[in-house]
C-alpha cells in the first residue's frame, strides 16, 4: 500500500531559512503518528510542509501521491491542518464558522451538523460567537472545521491545547474514529502522557531532522 506521507532527506525553507534539514519520514494509511521533540525542533514546519504551505527545495517529499517539490498546492485541498492558531472568525458563530470552512470543501449541511455534533457543539454553543468561547471550546470548533472538510490526511499541531480532561477525551475519540474510517493522522504534541496512548507510532524530531523513528 502506498504511504500517505513519504519524506526522504527533505529540506524545507521558510523564506531562505531552512526549517527542515533533511527530514525522513513515512506514514502509512490509517496510522496515528505522534511527532515529539523540543521547541523549535521542526514539528510545526514538518506539518506545514506536509500541508503544502512550506516549499520543499531538496530531497523527496510525497504526500497523498503528490510530489511536493513539483506542485505543493495540489495536495492542499486533501489535507486538514489544525495549527497553533485556530483559523476561526471571531465575529461568526460556531455554526457559521464550521459551515463556511465545510463549504470551502463542498461539505453538505448534514456533514456540517454531524461535525458539530461529534465535537459536542450542536447545543447552546452552536449559536454563540467564537469571540465569546473559552480556549478549549475554540479548539473544539477548530477541529470541527477540519472534520467537516473530511480530509484524507489530518495534520494537527497540539490538538489538545487548552482543553480540559473531558475535551481531551472527546478529541481522542474523534481522532480514533477518523482513523478507523480511513483517515491518516500526523500530530505534534508536548503532552506525551495524553498523546502517546493515542498514537499508533511515535516519531522524534530535532533540529529539523527525524532522529528516532520508533514503533
Amino acid at each position: 500500500m502506498e504511504p500517505v506521507v513519504h519524506f526522504s532527506e527533505a529540506v524545507a525553507v521558510h523564506g531562505r531559512f531552512p526549517v527542515l534539514t533533511g527530514a525522513s519520514l513515512t506514514v502509512n494509511p490509517c496510522e496515528i503518528v505522534l511527532l515529539r521533540g523540543p521547541n523549535g525542533a521542526g514539528k510545526t514546519s514538518l506539518l506545514r510542509a506536509c500541508a503544502g504551505l512550506l516549499p520543499v527545495v531538496q530531497g523527496i517529499a510525497n504526500v497523498l501521491g503528490v510530489d511536493l517539490t513539483q506542485d505543493r498546492k495540489a495536495v492542499r485541498a486533501r489535507v486538514g491542518l489544525l495549527s497553533h492558531a485556530n483559523g476561526l472568525y471571531d465575529d461568526l458563530t460556531v455554526t457559521e464558522n464550521v459551515r463556511f470552512w465545510g463549504q470551502t470543501a463542498g461539505a453538505s449541511d448534514a456533514e456540517v451538523k454531524a461535525a458539530l455534533a461529534e465535537l459536542g457543539l450542536s447545543g447552546r454553543l452552536a449559536t454563540v460567537k467564537v469571540v465569546k468561547l473559552s480556549a478549549g471550546q475554540r479548539r473544539r470548533t477548530a477541529l470541527a472545521t477540519v472534520l467537516a472538510r473530511r480530509p484524507e490526511l489530518w495534520l494537527l499541531d497540539e490538538p489538545h491545547a487548552g482543553l480540559d480532561g473531558d475535551g481531551r477525551d472527546l478529541i481522542d475519540d474523534v481522532l480514533r474514529r477518523a482513523a478507523a474510517a480511513g483517515a491518516t493522522i500526523l500530530f505534534a504534541s508536548h503532552e506525551l502522557d495524553r498523546a502517546e496512548p493515542l498514537a499508533t507510532r511515535v516519531v522524534r524530531i530535532d533540529a529539523g531532522r527525524v532522529v528516532q523513528p520508533t514503533c
Partner: protein, 234 residues
C-alpha cells in the same frame, strides 16, 4: 470562480452584519470627517461648494483604508489566511468575493455620506446630473475596492498593515480621485463663475466617467490576476 466569490462575499457580509464595524465605526468616522471639513472651512459656502466633490472622495478614501484594514485583520487575527490558502478555493474568486462585499459596504457608506454633503455643504443634485453621479460613484468604488483588496492582502502578512495600507493605496488611486472629483463637479454643478452660474456642465463629466470605468476595469483585471500570488506570500 463565481461559487467561491459568492461564498467569500456571503462570509464577509455575515461578519459585518454580526460585528457592525462598518455601520458603527467606519460610517460615523466618514460622517465626522465631512463635519470636520465643514468646520475647517468655517462653513463658508463659497469655499465648501466647489470643494465638496474632492472632500467627499477624500472622506470615502480614508474610510476605505479602515474598511480594508478591518477586512484583512479578520483573516489574520486567528490564522484564517492559512486556512484560505489550504482550501481549494480559486484565488480569483476570493478576490472577487472580498471586493464585492467591500463594494456593497462602500456604496452604502457613500449614500449616507452624500446625504451629509448635500445637507452640510448646501449642495444640490440637478436631475440631469443623477445618472452621471451614480455611474461615477459606482465606477470609482469598483476601482477603489479592487485596489484596496489587492493591497490589503499584500500588507496582510506584515505587522505594520495599518500604516502601510494608506501608503500603498493612496498613490495608486490618485487618478481615480482626480477623475471622480471632476465628474462629481460636473454632476453636482459645484464649479461656478463669479456670477454664480455653473461653469462645468453635466456633459463635460462623462469623459471622466468613461476614464474611471477604464481604470476600474484595469484594477479589477490586475486583482484577478495578481491576488493568488499575493495571497501565497501573505
Amino acid at each position: 470562480m463565481l461559487r467561491t466569490a459568492r461564498l467569500i462575499a456571503a462570509k464577509d457580509l455575515r461578519l459585518e452584519l454580526n460585528s457592525r464595524v462598518t455601520a458603527f465605526q467606519v460610517l460615523p468616522f466618514a460622517v465626522l470627517l465631512v463635519v470636520l471639513f465643514a468646520f475647517a472651512f468655517d462653513a463658508d459656502a463659497k469655499v465648501l461648494i466647489p470643494a465638496a466633490p474632492g472632500l467627499f472622495w477624500i472622506a470615502v478614501l480614508l474610510s476605505l483604508f479602515l474598511a480594508v484594514g478591518r477586512m484583512f485583520m479578520t483573516e489574520t487575527a486567528d490564522g484564517a489566511l492559512d486556512a484560505l490558502r489550504l482550501s481549494s478555493l480559486d484565488p480569483a474568486g476570493i478576490f472577487l468575493g472580498k471586493a464585492v462585499a467591500l463594494l456593497l459596504e462602500l456604496l452604502l457608506l457613500e449614500v449616507v455620506l452624500l446625504a451629509g454633503v448635500l445637507v452640510l455643504y448646501d449642495v444640490s443634485v440637478p436631475a440631469s446630473g443623477v445618472v452621471l453621479l451614480v455611474t461615477t460613484a459606482f465606477a470609482t468604488s469598483v476601482g477603489l475596492v479592487a485596489t484596496g483588496t489587492l493591497y490589503g492582502v499584500l500588507s496582510a502578512g506584515t505587522t505594520v498593515r495599518e500604516t502601510l495600507l494608506p501608503l500603498l493605496i493612496g498613490p495608486v488611486v490618485a487618478p481615480l480621485l482626480i477623475g471622480a472629483s471632476r465628474a462629481f463637479e460636473a454632476a453636482l454643478g459645484t464649479r461656478r463663475g463669479l456670477d454664480g452660474s455653473v461653469v462645468v456642465k453635466v456633459s463635460e463629466g462623462w469623459p471622466w466617467a468613461g476614464l474611471l470605468t477604464v481604470f476600474a476595469l484595469v484594477y479589477v483585471a490586475a486583482g484577478l490576476l495578481a491576488f493568488g500570488a499575493l495571497l501565497e506570500d501573505a
